[in-house]
């Protein structure tokens, strides 16, 4: 698993690639928590290169969502592969998270909607 971050105006974009499982999710958690600790309120996670998300990976997204909701921030998920998106939807997470087809759409959405 590899993880990188970039800043697009006031949005923190996180790119993850590979498998987000019990063994690799600690690094992803540290990276995202570091951004949250710095006070980001707009977080975009790009899953274009993610093949598998275990429940550990999901926990990180849920924990980030909780933290951001407390400060009226928001998290957007972009580029989820169809099979992963399907499991997210069947599990009801489309009620919690906003999914976007690509990074550009997710970035645009921050302009009109600052909460999840």
């Amino acid at each position: 698993m590899e993880i990188s971050t970039k800043k697009l105006n006031d949005i923190d974009v996180v790119h993850i690639s590979g498998r987000l499982d019990a063994y690799t999710s600690e690094e992803a958690e540290k990276t995202i928590n570091a951004l949250l600790d710095k006070g980001t309120t707009k977080l975009l996670v790009d899953f274009a290169k993610v093949d598998y998300i275990s429940s550990s990976g999901l926990r990180i997204m849920l924990a980030s969502l909780k933290r951001l909701n407390r400060i009226k921030g928001s998290i957007k998920l972009a580029n989820l592969k169809p099979a992963l998106k399907e499991v997210f939807e069947i599990s009801g997470f489309n009620q919690l998270f906003n999914f976007y087809e690509n990074e550009e759409d997710a970035v645009k959405s921050f302009g009109t909607d600052s909460t999840v």
């Binding site: 019990a22 063994y23 997470f93």
Partner: protein, 343 residues
């Protein structure tokens, strides 16, 4: 060290919901075992986990798989039932034991807990029969909150049920003679793959085959020899380039086999099915003093998410091509999209 206090029950329940969906969706026993290990790793915070099979009827006990720091590990070691494991099975409840690592595989040791410990979970299935053992390695300091332990128990029960389900499913869907999937499973899985097309790019292909002159072959050599041919050709369909070409091999009818290709590009599949035909042609089938030559004909059909076909129409396309291949002289494969002879 004090017990963890940052356990978030809301997040744990959402994660449990997600893990349940991942587990119950898996029908392939090998993939399920991997999913079980991943899920247990997620909920247990153990980085070394082993899973053992157990059969209460003949008391056979063997390592199924093991996981160490994110990787699956293998071992030639012959693990045996120990008094600790028997005690754990009798109680049908999790229990802590001293830990030994054999080839990085956690296993309960006899005697009091010393430097490291392991949590042993019996996998209890239908009729409360024990069907396996999960062993999770921990340092001495590990403590579980009650909520955390209850969720792990739910996960382990779910894993047991899913393991049992896939084993029963396999028994019900594998043809006894050829070890190919049955016709009933073919219908189910082809429909499932057709439905999946809307979530993925690319094509879905399947090949319908029929052994050439099989009736004459049976009349000449007898049905036992015919069964040998069916078994050997089925073995080719299952194993030829198994690691390179993902396929779901099925027995459609008597001597008709169908191969579903759920993931590969069509060009690669065309290449593969032609190679398979040639391999069959050259294969020396056993059972007679002089080796026997057997050939098959095939019809290949493919669809994309844009094609508006139902299951019957899709099968008919391959069947029509098979018929044409037979008419054209047999021992060849016709592709629906080109109608060209692939010999």
């Amino acid at each position: 060290m004090p017990a963890k206090t940052d356990f978030d029950i809301d997040i744990a329940l959402y994660a449990l919901n997600y893990a349940t969906r991942l587990l119950v969706s898996e029908l392939d026993p090998e993939k399920l075992v991997r999913q079980i290990i991943e899920t247990v790793a997620d909920f247990s915070e153990s980085s070394e986990i082993s899973l053992f099979n157990y059969d209460e009827n003949d008391t056979s006990f063997s390592l199924q798989t093991a996981y160490s720091k994110g990787q699956l590990v293998e071992s030639e070691h012959e693990f045996k039932l120990t008094p600790e494991i028997k005690k754990c099975f009798a109680s049908k409840n999790p229990a802590w034991y001293d830990l030994q690592l054999i080839d990085n595989i956690p296993f309960p040791a006899a005697g009091p807990i010393k430097n490291q410990k392991c949590l042993c979970f019996p996998l209890v299935g239908q009729d409360n029969q024990v069907m396996g053992l999960l062993v999770l390695a921990y340092g001495l300091e590990k403590q579980f909150l009650e909520n955390e332990m209850q969720i792990l128990r739910v996960i382990v029960s779910l894993c047991s049920t899913c393991l049992e389900k896939t084993r029963l499913f396999k028994q019900a869907t594998i043809d006894g003679l050829t070890e190919l999937y049955t016709r009933r499973y073919f219908d189910v899985i082809l429909q499932k793959e057709m439905n999946r097309l809307k979530y993925r790019e690319g094509e879905l292909c399947f090949l319908m085959t029929d052994i050439d002159h099989f009736k004459d072959f049976n009349d000449t050599y007898g049905h036992q020899q015919g069964d040998t041919v069916l078994k050997e050709l089925a073995s080719l369909c299952i194993n030829y380039k198994k690691d390179e070409v993902e396929r779901i091999p099925c027995r459609y009818g008597g001597e008709e086999f169908a191969l579903i290709f759920p993931s590969l590009p069509k060009a690669k599949i065309l290449e593969f099915v032609e190679e398979l035909r040639q391999t069959c042609e050259k294969h020396a089938f056993s059972g007679q003093k002089k080796s026997l030559q057997v050939t098959f004909s095939g019809g290949l059909a493919s669809i994309t998410s844009k094609d508006n076909l139902n299951l019957g129409q899709f099968i008919k396309r391959a069947d029509d091509m098979l018929y044409k291949a037979k008419e054209a002289g047999r021992n060849r494969i016709y592709d629906y999209s080109t109608h060209s002879i692939k010999k």
